[in-house]
Structure formats: structure tokens, C-alpha cells
């Protein structure tokens, strides 16, 4: 007779209704990266470099519903320490980023909490003047999209975030990154319904792939969390030097893989409040310099990479049809 401190399980614990070929859900198709048609980026380049800069606002009075995202206030109210350190990114760090990006000829993509376009018009002007692609990043870092969220509330949140961002930036804004990459089950459907063509929340691939929604497919773009500055430096407590080595090792590895398997994407996700600090910015500069020194690199925005990928899919389908027809 054995003893267990654990509650007994329901009978369905040993039922496996989703055990079927492919995925255990119907959001996307099962596909191994090595089975797909190789992609070549514009001008014969093999490695697309996507530098994502998340421009974020963490309110001093977070509600934290349905979940509290990383980076939010942790101290008793008023948590001036965390509020101001995040705000530092929008006042100081972002401008260090702009200089570093420009110095090395890097095209960034800006994921922006919409509340910032109203709060900080000068920051909005600076971003608009650069003509960088801007993608939706919800209203603030306290508007988490997550399971248990009321669909109507989320629908309004997404619509409002996109409407205001599009209105103020005069850009189409057809990309999206959910705060903390957190979603409810409805998020992809609501994004597609609001004219979003690609989103960057799922980290299950190194290349784009079609993701099913109620309103047609949306493209899932691969923005690595494992290599993100905040994750590496703040969550994993790795040194800045190590973060730089990791990006460089990834760059080398993907470049080599792209020589034999077709185009790859190196995604580098940056936060001005993290890497914009004086002791860290030189590592961003070193990484950008290293990446841009590689002749096979194509620096492009997320939307450009997504479009090039879609073009490549259409081309390979046409080739297939031609060969079948011939």
C-alpha cells in the first residue's frame, strides 16, 4: 500500500482527446522548419535583422488585471523607483538607441504603447520624424491581454490602441506585439479583425508562418524572447557582455544556417529602459556594429521582412504550379 499526499485525479486525467496528428489545437499547422521552401531575402541577402524597440509606459497605479506583466510596479504605492526607471527609457535611453541605430545604419521597428503618443507628443514627433515602422503594443504595460479577459473589453482595447496610434502616426500600423507577449484566446482574431496583418507573440519558430483566425490567416513573426535584452539581463541576470556575446553567437549561427537552408531572421528585441542605460549602451553598439559588418545581412523592419517572406511564398507556389502545369 502506497501513501500519497496528493488529491486523486479525475478520470479524464488519462483521456487524451487532442492526441491526433499535428497540433493539439487548430491555431496553426504543424510544420518543421527544415521541411519548408528556402527563402531568399531581397538582393540575395540571407539573414534579415529585425531590431525591435519596445517603447513602453508602466503606470504608477497598475491594476494588474487579468495579470500583472513583468516590469510593472512591485513596491508599495507610490513605487517611484520603478516608475522613474522605466520612464528613463523614454526620456534618455531611446535617444541613445536612435544614435546607435543611425550610426550603424540599422532600420528598427518601434512597438509603442499607444498611451505614450498622448502622454509624450515630443517623443511621438521624434519617432514620426524618423519614418521608422511603428507597430501596435496595446495601450500600456498595464493592459495585459490574457485568458479570462472579457472579449468586448479586449475588442475595445485593441481597437482604441490601433485607432489612436494610426491617427497620430499617420501610419497604417499593421503589426502588433502584445505586452509581455501575453494573449487571450481571442487576441489573434481581434487583431486580424482590426486590420493587423502580423503579430509577434508566439516564439515557436525562427521564420514567419500563417496563424489561423476567425477572419483569415494572420502572420506570426518570430521575435525571440530568449535573446531579448530584458529577459537576458533582468530576468536571467546575465552580464551585458554576455548578452552581446549571445546575440553575436546567434548571428554567426543563423548566418551559417542560412547559407545551406535559406534565409533566416535574427530578431533583437530591445527596451530603452534596459539597454539604454549608460553602462549597457556600448554593448548595443558593439552588437549592431558586428551584425552590420556581415555582407549577407539585410537590416529591415518587421513589416518589410514579413512582406518579403509573403512574396517568397507566392513565388514558390507559382513555381510549384508551373512545374505541375508543365
Amino acid at each position: 500500500m502506497t501513501t500519497s499526499p496528493h488529491p486523486p485525479l479525475d478520470d479524464d486525467y488519462q483521456q487524451y482527446p487532442q492526441r491526433q496528428y499535428g497540433m493539439d489545437h487548430s491555431r496553426y499547422e504543424w510544420s518543421m522548419l527544415t521541411d519548408r521552401k528556402p527563402v531568399i531575402w531581397p538582393n540575395g541577402k540571407t539573414l534579415a535583422v529585425w531590431v525591435n524597440v519596445s517603447v513602453e509606459h508602466f503606470p504608477l497605479n497598475p491594476i494588474g488585471k487579468p495579470i500583472k506583466l513583468p516590469g510593472n510596479m512591485t513596491m508599495p504605492y507610490p513605487d517611484l523607483r520603478h516608475f522613474t526607471l522605466r520612464d528613463y527609457g523614454n526620456r534618455v535611453g531611446i535617444y541613445r538607441f536612435f544614435d546607435a541605430l543611425d550610426k550603424h545604419g540599422v532600420t528598427p521597428t518601434i512597438a509603442m504603447n499607444t498611451c505614450l503618443v498622448e502622454r509624450y507628443p515630443q517623443l511621438l514627433d521624434a519617432v514620426i520624424a524618423r519614418h521608422d515602422e511603428i507597430i501596435g503594443h496595446s495601450w500600456s504595460m498595464d493592459t495585459a491581454h490574457a485568458g479570462g479577459m472579457d472579449e468586448a473589453i479586449e475588442a475595445d482595447l485593441i481597437k482604441r490602441s490601433l485607432d489612436v496610434l494610426r491617427g497620430k502616426t499617420k501610419q497604417p500600423v499593421n503589426g502588433w506585439l502584445s505586452p509581455g507577449k501575453s494573449e487571450s484566446a481571442n487576441t489573434p482574431d481581434l487583431l486580424k479583425a482590426n486590420g493587423v496583418d502580423y503579430f509577434c507573440d508566439w516564439v515557436n519558430d525562427d521564420m514567419p508562418y500563417p496563424f489561423h483566425t476567425k477572419h483569415g490567416d494572420i502572420i506570426a513573426m518570430p521575435l525571440s524572447t530568449e535573446l531579448e535584452d530584458r529577459f537576458v539581463v533582468m530576468d536571467n541576470f546575465h552580464s551585458e557582455q554576455s548578452w552581446a556575446e549571445q546575440v553575436i553567437d546567434a548571428c554567426d549561427f543563423l548566418l551559417a544556417e542560412s547559407q545551406t537552408q535559406g534565409g533566416r531572421i535574427l530578431s533583437v528585441s530591445l527596451h530603452p529602459w534596459v539597454m539604454g542605460q549608460p553602462h549597457r549602451i556600448k554593448h548595443v553598439e558593439a552588437v549592431l556594429q558586428y551584425i552590420m559588418s556581415k555582407p549577407d545581412v539585410w537590416s529591415a523592419s518587421a513589416g518589410e521582412i514579413c512582406a518579403a517572406w509573403q512574396t517568397a511564398q507566392i513565388k514558390s507556389e507559382k513555381q510549384l504550379n508551373t512545374s505541375i502545369g508543365g
Binding site: T2, T3, L9, Y13, D24, S31, L33, W202, Q246, L254
Partner: protein
Amino acid sequence: MTPEPQQLKSEPGHYDYWPYRNRPKITWPNGARLAFWVAPNIEFYELNPPKNPARAPWPLPSPAVAGYSIRDYGNRVGHMRQMKLLEKYGIRGSISLSTALCTHHPEIIEMCRERDWEFFSHGIYNTRYTYGMTESQERAMILESIETIERYAGKKPAGYLAPALSHSEVTLDLFAELGGIYTCDLFHDDQPTPITVRGGQRFISVPYSLELNDTIAYVVNKIEPRRYGQMIKDSFDRLYAEGATSGTVMCIPTHNYQVSCPHRMRAFEEALEYITGHSDVWATTGRKIADYYLANYYDAAMADIASKGKR
């Protein structure tokens, strides 16, 4: 009714204390001093698994985009990268398999078979925990995993690693009763050791490793990639040196949603290159180590443990 801690066992009871020094000498095939194996975990995690009151599979409300999608990365992207690497260094993988993956992703199983990799059982899904299972429920789960491997890989598994390292008091007993010969669940030694099971079967532990497990290193201990590579090399150096006295075992358990990310491949490759650059290393599989130990050293080990236990 929940039992008090006093009503639970104070130790696993699967082995006796047995000092590392002065054991009967192990020599691996061809005079090798270190048996080296790599154990890729090829796993399936469910997006919406049923609730287990003892452990939540995902930290946040469904859908667990972050946790689920990075694990799916291992299946879509990672395994093929590691296969290429292991091929380059002449290493056969010993895969720790969530057997539901045979249904979900048979292409991966086929690739493992083409490479003549060993399959061992890691339960059905890595989101179904042993906690709270009755003995007959756990036996059914383990048996089903064994039968699935036999059906898809052509051979019953010899080894077991409990799904998500979730155990009951009888996990090892059940696996031994169902014909298994080794467990990867215990981290008490750098050599194989006899394991006491209630049925008295000849059953052993083959050293796996928690410290060199990439998920433990990267996710739990938050190790920098190049340091992880150095840890593997340092671990090898010590076990290789000690292997001259009596053969040791070194395992690198991997998860391709961690070790096969682009920024971590270089450190892993350098470590494999370093290890396979040495002579007297037996690059092998879990089953081969278990078979060899059972045939050549199990009885001597049992006698030594018994004699030292008496004092």
C-alpha cells in the same frame, strides 16, 4: 485525507549508502574510462491539459502562449539542429520521449529511427503528472508509453524518466515490473548503481544529470550559454580523470527549445567537439550502458554494497 509528513517515507529506499571510493573497478568497452551519452528530450506539452491539483502546468491563465510556444520551438526548429550536430560528432541520441509525440509528430520519430537512436519512455505527455495517480493509473500510463514506443520504434524501451520528473512512491517499481532495466530519475551518483525495487528485478540507475540538463541550467539556474559550455567541459575533465580509477558516466540531457536556440548552439557544439576529441571515451546510449553494467558489474556491485553495509 491528506497524510501527515510523518506518514510519508523519509527516504526513497531505492539504494543503500555506498561510498564512491574503493568500489569494484569498472572498465567500459575497449578500455574506455568514460561512458558518454546525450539524451535529447523529445516532448509534447499540451496547450490545455487537464488540471492536476498538485502542480499547474502553466503559470498563467490559458492560453499559455509563452510556455507553450517556446516548447513547440523545440519540435519545429530545435531537434533537427541537434540531429545535425550529433551526427557531425558521431553521437547516437538516447531520446527521452513523450510518447504522444509519435501521434502528433511522426516525422520526428522517423528521423530518430533513421539515425538508429535509442528511445526511452518519458511518459505520454509532459503535461500529465504522476502526482495523484493510483498505482493502477500509473501502471496503465507507463504500460501505454512502453507499448507506443514498441509500436513506433520497433523495440520496447529499456529506460524511464518520469514525465516532468513527477513521481510516485512506486514509479521505479512499476517500470521494473513492466520490463524496464534502468531509470534516469535519480541523481545520487556518477556511476550506474543497483536499484532496489519491490519485485527484486535486476534494475539499475544510469546517471543522467540535473546540473548539466540544459533546462535546469538555462531556465532554473539561469546560466549564461558560454558558461554552460564550460560547465560541460569541466564536468567532462573531472569524470574523465576519475574514470582512470573506475569508469564513470557522463550524460548531457537536452531540450531543443533551449540548447538549440541560435545563441546557444556554439557553446554546445564546442563542448561536444571537446569531449569527442578525447580517446577512451565510449560515446554510447543509455541502454548500452545499462546492458553492459548489468552483464559485467551488477553482481560485483551488489556484493560490494552488501559487504560494506555489514562492516
